[in-house]
């Protein structure tokens, strides 16, 4: 697994500031949301996108997600071109992807032809994850991957993570985790540890993208992104009752 951040943690950071933060904290993935201060948009020139890719790569960033400000923007030639130049996957929320008449398969094929891919985001809902997986399965060549927006404050992950992981299967390539980083202590007992253990035991090779729980928390993220040191390991106050893995792990049975 590769740890990264969303620009939702620092909407006002320029690309250089984001790169510096990734380097400081050893982050290897980033979600670029259109409209934030990094400046990349669906209308960005190819050279600008390539330069952004180089800047991020120099900071150690290996994987990029790009989220258009309007979901329909993912279904456009501009998005395909940007994804290619950025070497990024373009992400959109599942309800938005399914709302269109039938363009998902068409655009998945376009991304594949261009050498990129789409990523469908679902929530902590096994049925929604299963619907995404089924949609992805209907498209050849594994060109659609899945991403899970996991907010332990909105839905306790203790009970739900096993079912969502099972439903998403091996196409899961991104977990957008809210309320971690500088907010982690407030997520205690909400299943984050169990989720991470399950991902590790499955051999999950995707990315973990940290997101804030709300705009009110951005000041503490700004501080966190500017530091390279940890915030304490917490070992003195460890509590084993906070982490439960009731269901057995059997990743060998996992299918796409």
């Amino acid at each position: 697994m590769r740890l990264g951040i969303s620009t939702a943690t620092a909407p006002g950071f320029t690309l250089e500031e984001l790169s510096r933060s990734c380097r400081h904290r050893g982050l290897r993935a980033i979600e670029l949301i259109e409209g934030h201060a990094h400046g990349l948009t669906l209308g960005s020139a190819a050279a600008e996108a390539r330069q952004a890719r180089r800047v991020l790569a120099d900071a150690g960033v290996e994987q990029i997600l790009f989220r258009p400000s309007a979901p329909a923007g993912a279904f456009s030639e501009q998005a395909v071109a940007l994804a290619v130049e950025l070497e990024a996957a373009v992400a959109l929320a599942a309800p938005d992807a399914f709302a269109e008449a039938a363009p998902l398969a068409h655009w998945a094929a376009r991304y594949a032809e261009a050498g990129s891919r789409l990523l469908l985001l679902h929530g902590t809902d096994a049925a929604e994850a299963a619907a995404c997986r089924e949609a992805a399965r209907r498209v050849p060549d594994r060109t659609i991957q899945l991403g899970w927006t996991a907010d332990p404050h909105a839905a306790d992950l203790t009970a739900g993570s096993a079912a969502v992981l099972e439903a998403a299967g091996a196409r899961l390539a991104a977990v957008r985790l809210a309320g971690s980083g500088p907010e982690a202590a407030a997520s205690e007992g909400r299943g984050v540890g169990a989720l991470m253990a399950r991902l590790a035991l499955r051999g999950y090779a995707g990315i973990i993208v940290l997101t804030p729980t709300s705009a009110a928390r951005l000041p503490v993220w700004r501080v966190w992104l500017g530091r390279s040191s940890g915030w304490g390991c917490g070992s003195k106050a460890a509590d084993a009752s906070l982490v439960r893995l009731e269901q057995p792990m059997n990743p060998a049975q996992e299918t796409v």
Binding site: A186, A197, G232, A238, P251
Partner: protein, 79 residues
Amino acid sequence: MKDMSQSRELDVRVIPPREKHPTIFATYDALEPGESFVLVNDHDPFPLRYQFEAERPGGFGWDYLESGPVVWRVRISRR
């Protein structure tokens, strides 16, 4: 079962502080003998090694793959 020891990573930087060590031990306890995972952390987890020595004596392997200054990666294996 396919061998996934090479790809198993547990990045504890995202885990609430009081859940970190319990999560690491839960992951370790779920391994079969001969399997391993790579622990990723933002500081040297040597206190954890002492805890392993106390609570899982003789049964684990501990190999540093990366030692800072930003990220520490340790392969923890079950014998």
